[in-house]
């Protein structure tokens, strides 16, 4: 995904609708993209009126708004619309745990996230006013799609006027091939860590060579830990505003039982998350 021309937002007439719409409109304007809203359910006069009044309240869209009304299973409808409309970015809202400052992705949104043919942006705190995006954390793990992901994050950073990008290289603990038992193995482990860190930094730098990153401060951080988990924790610690990740290769039922990679993020969103496809 290196261009965002069409953004899709699911419209559910919930208390969150207003901030969701405002956020979507803002994003659409920033990317200069067309906004498509899909509502799964009946098309009533009341709903149309509500929607229109909200759109009027929000900034004016540069590229216009298209509403789709369709009955059916929400997951199927949204996925279908993504394909039919050639959507580049799908915006989904997250849910908040009762009384806690913790966010997670609901079951429907989760299903959509796993199967969506386009990139997905999960918002934990859509708001009516704009909060500036100040820090983007990108997953730079070794993968074929990583270059694409990093490119996309720079594109997003430029559009959102974000000045700081941290590329996190998650490295599996097992890659060390050394278990720390005593002073000697500790030293060996640390040397190995240094070496892997350098190697990873070089790999990311190679990717960056072809990207214009003059507008941002770029930092590289390698973390040894559980893949998919540690980057979320890092984003939270660093209070990043957006986390950009690769889409998972494919996740079956086993992946949900033995949580890993993206599933960690979905069960507890550290911040807004963009999953690049």
């Amino acid at each position: 995904m290196q261009k965002i021309d069409k953004i899709l937002i699911g419209i559910a007439f919930s208390p969150n609708l207003k901030p969701n719409i405002f956020e979507a409109v803002r994003l659409a304007n920033m990317f200069e993209a067309e906004l498509v809203g899909v509502h799964v359910g009946e098309k009533t006069v009341q709903k149309i009126a509500d929607l229109n009044s909200l759109l009027k309240e929000a900034d004016t869209l540069k590229k216009g708004f298209k509403a789709i009304w369709q009955d059916g299973n929400p997951v199927d409808v949204i996925l279908q619309t993504c394909t039919n409309e050639n959507i580049d970015l799908l915006i989904l809202g997250a849910l908040q745990q009762e009384n806690l400052l913790k966010y997670y992705v609901g079951s429907i949104a989760r299903k959509i996230t796993r199967k969506a043919p386009c990139s997905v942006l999960l918002l934990i705190k859509p708001s009516i006013e704009r909060f500036k995006c100040k820090h983007i954390v990108v997953s730079g793990l070794k993968d074929d799609r990583t270059e694409e992901t990093i490119r996309t994050s720079f594109l997003v950073a430029n559009k959102l006027e974000c000045k700081k990008i941290t590329i996190v290289e998650e490295i599996k603990q097992e890659e060390l091939h050394v278990t720390v038992n005593d002073d000697k193995s500790l030293r060996r482990a640390n040397i190995a860590k240094e070496r892997i860190t350098k190697r990873e930094d070089r790999r990311v730098k190679n990717i960056l060579k072809n990207i214009d990153c003059s507008n941002q401060t770029v930092k590289m951080q390698s973390i040894f830990g559980k893949r998919g988990y540690s980057i979320g924790h890092y984003a939270k610690v660093k209070r990043a505003d957006l986390l950009v990740m690769n889409a998972p290769a494919k996740s079956g039922i086993l992946d949900r039982i033995f949580t890993h990679d993206i599933e960690y993020i979905l069960s507890e969103l550290p911040t807004d998350v963009l999953i690049v496809r």
Binding site: P19, Q96, L101, K125, S127, F131, K132, K134, H135, K163, K164, T179, V180, N181, D182, D183, S185, L186, R187, A189, N190, T217, Q221, S222, I223, F224, G225, K226, Y229, S230, H233, Y234, K236, V237, R239, T259, Y264
Partner: protein
């Protein structure tokens, strides 16, 4: 090259290790005999364990100054195994138990290969304390009767305890002179054990107390034998019994009951206790090691397992790492593995040279040594110490203690774990926190600016401590580490205790280990290891207690002659005038360190409203300048984005200092005043110091480091930065 040097060092250290090994063997001899007797096994089995352990572990083990041999924790388990497996026949029971010992050795080897050496981390520390105390009481209950000359006392631990007064009365009423004198020797030995440390004589202190007891009691025999006309009053049945030909009469394990449930129970019990005892000892001994080496626990466990297998086949007890003997080793300048090896060799020499003399040791004398060890394990001091940590720890401790005494060790420890878990749930009033997060990885560690930063999420207790531990173990102890619990809702006693241990190790090795993020928690007692939970619910049972960080801040404030107030609210009035706080709402200011002009404080503020609310904790410095300061913000170019608040103002370049202009982003309304304010001296100061984000207004300067709480060290640096800056302005 390096190898040769270390070999040379090894050889040059042999003499002092030889001596240390000798002193240790002086204790190991009576303890080995005594522990075996207390276990209901033949006395020689304890020495076999010590000898095999000393040789095998010193050659193959992964630790440096530990001493291995029969352990006191196992006495109760082995005694129980011998009685239940033998159905009353102690001799046959012992042979079955040897088989259990061999198998537990094999299990230990497997655990070692699976890197499961951390088994002991899954047990909450109060439960382990309770278990150890129960073992102590078990040893004491049985041995106190032997000490009083009565080897026939039998029954459960509770029965034996109840029989103690009767036993004392019996001793003085008895017409059996052998028993009476034996009892006297026992009581005298116990008194000697108790008061030994009070004797200041250098020559007395040269030989450890247990060996004195052996030497004196054997001496007593020879006194009667050679000088006195009367017969030695203690009957042969109350003297130690060694086989006539020590070298050829090894007992061989009997694997006949290997599939019986009792046998399996015994194997589990022995494995569990021996691994816990070894692990605790290895950890404790590492703290004593003068060369500050780190033991390879898994390698050590493998070696101990192998030693146990060999010892079991030769008719010896389990081999474990023992703390008391190891600390004697360290105190006598033992510095490498050879001390353990020599201790074994000396034991061999003692058996071969002095076997006749050893047969003259009265059992009550050995029992006295064990009564003393048992008492130390279960001493009231321990209970007081646990109580100080918190009432709930005492409950866990007592539940484990009583269950262990009333049932068995395994039941005891399982009940202890369950009790701890239930108590944690009651305290936090939220079982979901534990169940939902127990399997999730909850620890993040990364290295930044040369420091290791570890953040722990959700909760941290004995249940998931291994995850934290495996990360912490990867940090060299000579480095700086910051452990942040601010995302944790609950931290338990076991973790707090371990954090303290890490802090000690780091300090010893020249590093720095600091725990942050607990200042907002409530603690259950004033003890530094007490469990802590985040202040969310309004509970009254928790007291606000200074954390370690707050205490060190207090100390620093004294050193620097600053004022310190952990819970102050005065600063809040001026802060909102800064641009930084225009969009941020201040919730709370705490840990205020101040002198007349500078104030350093922890601040908790939130960004956004309601659903978008995010709570941030950070440390900042506020300076009241003497002269007027123009409004400006200064940042290292590109690093901070606070510039937003001054959007619309360009970077003000200062022509005379192109380097400064390039590195820093300076902005503000009144360019002229700002240019005048930035004198050469000030610019030089900024260029040469660690860079912070600085914001100035008519109310002073606000200096912000990272957007998180600073460690004590960082706060100190911030303070000095402030003082220096203050001077220049």
């Amino acid at each position: 090259m390096k190898k040769k040097n270390s070999f040379k060092a090894f050889v040059s250290e042999i003499p002092k290790n030889l001596f240390a090994g000798f002193v240790v063997s002086l204790i190991a001899l009576p303890l080995g005999l005594g522990l075996a007797l207390a276990s209901g096994a033949p006395p020689i089995s304890g020495l076999i364990a010590a000898i095999v352990g000393g040789i095998v572990v010193s050659l193959l083990g992964g630790s440096n100054v530990t001493i291995t041999g029969p352990g006191n924790g196992l006495v109760v388990v082995i005694l129980a195994a011998i009685t239940t497996l033998g159905n009353g026949d102690m001799q046959q029971g012992f042979l079955f138990t040897l088989a259990a010992i061999v198998i537990s050795g094999i299990l230990l080897i497997i655990l070692g290969f699976l890197k499961m050496g951390s088994l002991g981390d899954f047990f909450p520390s109060s439960a382990i304390q309770g278990m150890l105390a129960a073992i102590g009481i078990g040893i004491l209950a049985k041995q106190i009767h032997v000490m009083l000359g009565n080897t026939d006392a039998n029954g459960s631990i509770i029965d034996l305890l109840l029989q103690i007064p009767e036993g004392i009365i019996n001793l003085f009423k008895t017409d059996n002179s052998s028993m009476f004198y034996a009892g006297l020797v026992g009581i005298a030995s116990l008194l000697f054990m108790i008061f030994y440390s009070k004797i200041r004589n250098r020559y007395v202190q040269l030989i450890p107390a247990p060996m004195w007891i052996v030497v004196l009691s054997v001496g007593l025999y020879y006194y009667f034998d050679v000088f006195s006309t009367t017969e030695y009053p203690i009957d042969k049945s109350l003297l130690i019994n060694l086989p006539d030909d020590i070298l050829s009469s090894f007992a061989f394990p009997d694997f006949g009951k290997i599939f019986e449930i009792n046998f399996i129970n015994a194997v589990i019990g022995i494995t569990l206790i021996s691994s816990i005892e070894s692990l605790l000892s290895i950890k404790a001994v590492d703290k004593l090691d003068p060369l500050k080496r780190r033991s390879n626990v898994n390698k050590d466990i493998r070696a101990l397992g192998l030693a146990t297998v060999i010892s079991g086949f030769l008719g010896g007890l389990n081999v474990v790492t023992v703390i008391a003997r190891s600390s004697v080793n360290v105190n006598n300048n033992g510095s490498n593995k050879s001390a353990n090896f020599f201790h074994a060799l000396f034991l061999v020499a003692f058996i071969l040279l002095f076997s006749t003399e050893l047969r003259k040791i009265p059992l009550p004398a050995l029992a006295a040594i064990l009564v003393y060890t048992g008492y130390k394990l279960a001493s009231p001091e321990n209970i007081v110490r646990v109580f100080k940590v918190g009432k709930e720890q005492l409950i866990i401790f007592l539940i484990t203690l009583l269950t262990t005494i009333a049932t068995s060790l395994i039941t005891g420890i399982i009940v202890g774990i369950l009790a701890t878990f239930i108590i944690h749930i009651i305290i936090i009033k939220n079982a979901k926190l534990f169940f939902k997060n127990i399997l999730k990885p909850n620890v993040l560690m990364f290295k930044e600016d040369g420091k290791y930063y570890v953040s722990v999420k959700n909760f941290s207790s004995f249940l998931n401590y291994t995850k934290l531990k495996s990360k912490l173990n990867q940090i060299p102890e000579s480095e700086e580490a910051i452990i942040d619990f601010s995302m944790c809702d609950f931290v338990d006693h076991s973790v707090m205790e371990n954090m303290n241990n890490y802090a000690q190790t780091f300090t010893r090795k020249g590093g720095h280990f600091e725990v942050i993020g607990l200042d907002d928690t409530k603690s259950i007692s004033s003890h530094p290891f007490a469990l802590r939970k985040i202040l969310t619910l309004k509970t009254t049972s928790f007291i606000k207690v200074l954390t370690k960080r707050q205490k060190s801040l207090k100390k620093i404030s004294k050193e620097m002659h600053w004022k310190y107030d952990a819970f102050s609210a005065q600063e809040v009035e001026e802060l909102p005038t800064f641009g930084y706080f225009k969009t941020r709402e201040i919730n709370k200011v705490s840990n205020v360190l101040s002198n007349e002009d500078c104030t350093i404080f922890d601040i908790q503020f939130s960004e956004g409203e309601l659903i978008a609310k995010q709570v941030i904790k950070a440390t900042m410095l506020h300076i009241h300048p003497k002269n007027e300061v123009p409004d400006f913000t200064l940042d290292q170019e590109g690093i901070f984005e606070y510039i937003l608040h001054f959007a619309g103002y360009k970077d003000i370049g200062i022509d005379a200092h192109p380097d400064f202009s390039r590195r820093f982003y300076l902005s503000g309304k009144n360019e002229e005043k700002i240019r005048a304010f930035f004198t050469d001296e000030l610019i030089l100061f900024f260029e040469s110091n660690k860079q912070y984000h600085i914001e100035a207004s008519k109310n002073g300067l606000l200096i912000i480091g990272k957007e998180r709480l600073a460690s004590v060290k960082e706060m100190k640096a911030l303070a000095y930065f402030g003082i220096a800056l203050q001077k220049i302005i």
